[in-house]
């Protein structure tokens, strides 16, 4: 078998001569490798450009802020709300470069980003990167846990209920998904908190980041996403079930469960994979609310506090960080998609 593989020119039977039989080149041919390489480079360049665009938006939001930044900074640090004299403002403007031309400020900001410098918090004096880094882990736990849980919930719901003979079963599945997809995080969180933590006391009410205290926040974050992923997967699942290749598989003697798991599922998860990059970004913003509901430390709490205080560098830093996560997640999603659907490779 392997001995025949490196043959480059396919030996066509005589009847084949007429056909437009453009047999594809050896899969490991150079042309193909070049195409794949160009694709990867293209992806990375596109990702960098998106990040640069995001940085520009965030930079503009900071500099175009109404009101004087130096005044805001001083007032934030002292907890007052007063007019500042020029003598007070000068050193601040000097230190943060608020008086530099816009282009210089932009170059400084982007240059800082390249070195991982997200600026300095007005309120806490600390570098934003440190502030984020300190609170990152609980939020990452929350978001990744919710992503995994959402996938499991969505797949179980779809594989078990989609395309069944019984109308009631499919309606129950799709109804549950639709309901889950439209439940706001804060409401679901409050209900879970009141019922499972306050009344039944199965989980701690204010539990920090212990595993027991992580269950409800993860669930709160996962359920709406599961509804969303489930709807996308179900639509595709129903469509694929009607495809001729499914009939072909059944005609080979395959049973219903085999058809669902071996053929249909692989096609049906493609849209949900595509959505997952976006979903991770959405989960991080959902975490803001969930952390607030469960009084759980994390990036969301940092963000809410910073928005409240109008500590713009911290807000901008978190937004920039999430944008970066989104970009990286989408490169990974692209990779995952290619693993499931090799058609993307060529």
């Amino acid at each position: 078998m392997s001995a025949t593989a490196p043959t480059t020119t396919p030996v066509a039977p005589p009847t084949e001569a007429l056909a437009v039989d453009a047999s594809p080149a050896n899969p490991w041919g150079r042309a193909r490798l070049l195409v794949a390489l160009r694709r990867v480079v293209g992806r990375v360049v596109a990702a960098v450009l998106v990040l640069l665009g995001a940085a520009t938006v965030v930079f503009l939001a900071q500099t175009l802020l109404p009101g004087d930044r130096a005044t805001l900074l001083l007032n934030l640090r002292s907890g007052e709300a007063v007019e500042r004299t020029a003598a007070e403002l000068a050193p601040i403007n000097e230190q943060y470069g608020f008086d530099d031309p816009l282009a210089v400020q932009y170059a400084t900001y982007v240059g800082g980003l390249l070195r991982g410098d997200l600026g300095v918090s007005y309120q806490r004096h600390a570098p934003v990167a440190e502030v984020i880094g300190g609170q990152l882990w609980p939020t990452a736990q929350l978001a990744l846990g919710a992503l995994a849980a959402a996938w499991v919930l969505a797949l179980v719901s779809v594989v078990v209920t989609a395309g069944r003979r019984s109308r009631a079963v499919t309606a129950a599945g799709s109804g549950a998904e639709a309901l889950a997809a439209s439940v706001p995080h804060y409401w679901l969180g409050v209900i879970l908190l009141v019922v499972l933590a306050v009344n039944l006391q199965w989980f701690p009410v204010m539990g920090g980041t212990s595993p027991a205290a992580t269950v409800l926040p993860v669930l709160t974050l996962a359920v709406p996403l599961a509804g969303f992923l489930g709807q996308a997967t179900r639509d595709e699942f129903d469509r694929v079930l009607e495809q001729p290749f499914v009939t072909s598989a059944r005609a080979r003697g395959m049973g219903d469960t085999g058809v669902r798991l071996r053929h249909v599922l692989r096609h049906a998860v493609l849209p949900a994979i595509t959505l997952s990059g976006w979903a991770l970004g959405a989960l991080l913003s959902g975490a803001v609310i969930v952390e607030s509901v469960f009084s759980r430390p994390g990036l969301g709490q940092v963000l809410v506090a910073a928005v409240d205080a109008r500590d713009v560098p911290v807000v901008a830093g978190v937004v920039m960080f999430v944008a970066a996560v989104y970009v990286v997640a989408n490169v990974l999603v692209d990779l995952a998609y290619t693993l499931v659907d090799p058609r993307r490779r060529s």
Binding site: A46, A61, L65, Y186, S292, V307, V315
Partner: protein
């Protein structure tokens, strides 16, 4: 009166028997609209009437949804808050659509260069989850209802923009567009008569989904204290006000939330029904 309303319905009956999945959400949406237009019909009381004797009463026949820390009737407050919430949702959707229409149509119709520029702009804005973009805007502008509308509107615009762009590009590829050009019609006329109306059609359903989504987002921001300030009966403000008491007065959180969920689910159901109808009759 009754015969008048019955007669046309009876004539139409054999063609479209509305299913339960349409009647229930339609009734609910009707109730919400009534609450927004004429709240006193559903809740004759005063939403700001304080009665400290009746503070933190759980839901009962007298106080359908219970009372808050100042003894105000929650049902009255939820009904009277409908208008604010709906207006914020509509306003945000309007802002989003306005931005999206400009970007989407420019990209879809403006030639390759414009499409490239707008396309990458949309791509970049997808890197900002709606909620975070909204929070950034609140941090910059300070919390207020107009910031809320703007923030949610700008945050949800990229999704619509991408959809409009995709629609326009898809419709431009349709054979009927080429057929119209082959008849010698002006490109501009073909765009106005075929491309725009057909590209906008699926948006009808999407917009209804967008309104409910906007209400949810706006109330989420308010829940974080970034929206309308608490004395207002706006739903998000009710949520924020109730947070402190959630461990013992659950209804203060659950009931306004229920209103939001009911609105979102019923509007979404109607939108989906409309979508199915459009798709069913068209292709």
């Amino acid at each position: 009166m009754t015969t008048q309303t019955h007669a046309p319905a009876a004539r139409r009956a054999p063609r479209l028997v509305p299913s339960l999945g349409v009647v229930v959400p339609a009734t609910l949406v009707g109730a919400f609209v009534l609450a927004a237009v004429a709240p006193s019909v559903l809740a004759p009381g005063d939403p700001t009437a304080i009665d400290l004797e009746a503070a933190f009463l759980p839901p009962s026949t007298e106080h359908l949804l219970g009372t808050d820390q100042s003894g105000r009737d929650l049902w009255t407050r939820v009904v009277h808050g409908t208008r604010h919430s709906l207006l914020i949702g509509l306003g945000a959707t309007g802002v989003a659509l306005a931005i999206a229409a400009v970007l989407g149509f420019a990209a879809g119709l403006g030639g390759r260069l414009v499409d490239r520029v707008v396309g990458s702009l949309i791509e970049v804005s997808f890197a900002f989850p709606t909620m975070l973009l909204a929070l950034l805007l609140v941090a910059v502008r300070g919390p207020s209802p107009s910031t809320l509308v703007l923030a949610v509107g700008i945050g949800s615009a990229p999704g619509y923009a991408r959809m409009i762009r995709g629609q326009v590009l898809a419709v431009r590829q349709e054979a009927y567009v080429e057929a119209a050009l082959a008849l010698g019609h002006r490109r501009r006329d073909v765009v106005v008569r075929h491309v725009l109306p057909n590209a906008m059609r699926p948006l009808v359903a999407v917009v209804t989904l967008g309104i409910s989504q906007s209400v949810v987002w706006a109330s989420g921001l308010a829940f974080l204290g970034m929206g309308v300030a608490p004395p207002s009966p706006e739903w998000g403000a009710l949520l924020e006000a109730g947070r402190t008491y959630v461990t013992f007065a659950w209804w203060l959180e659950v009931m306004p939330g229920l209103a939001i969920v009911l609105l979102a689910v019923s509007v979404t159901a109607l939108g989906r029904a409309a979508q199915r109808r459009l798709e069913g009759t068209d292709r």
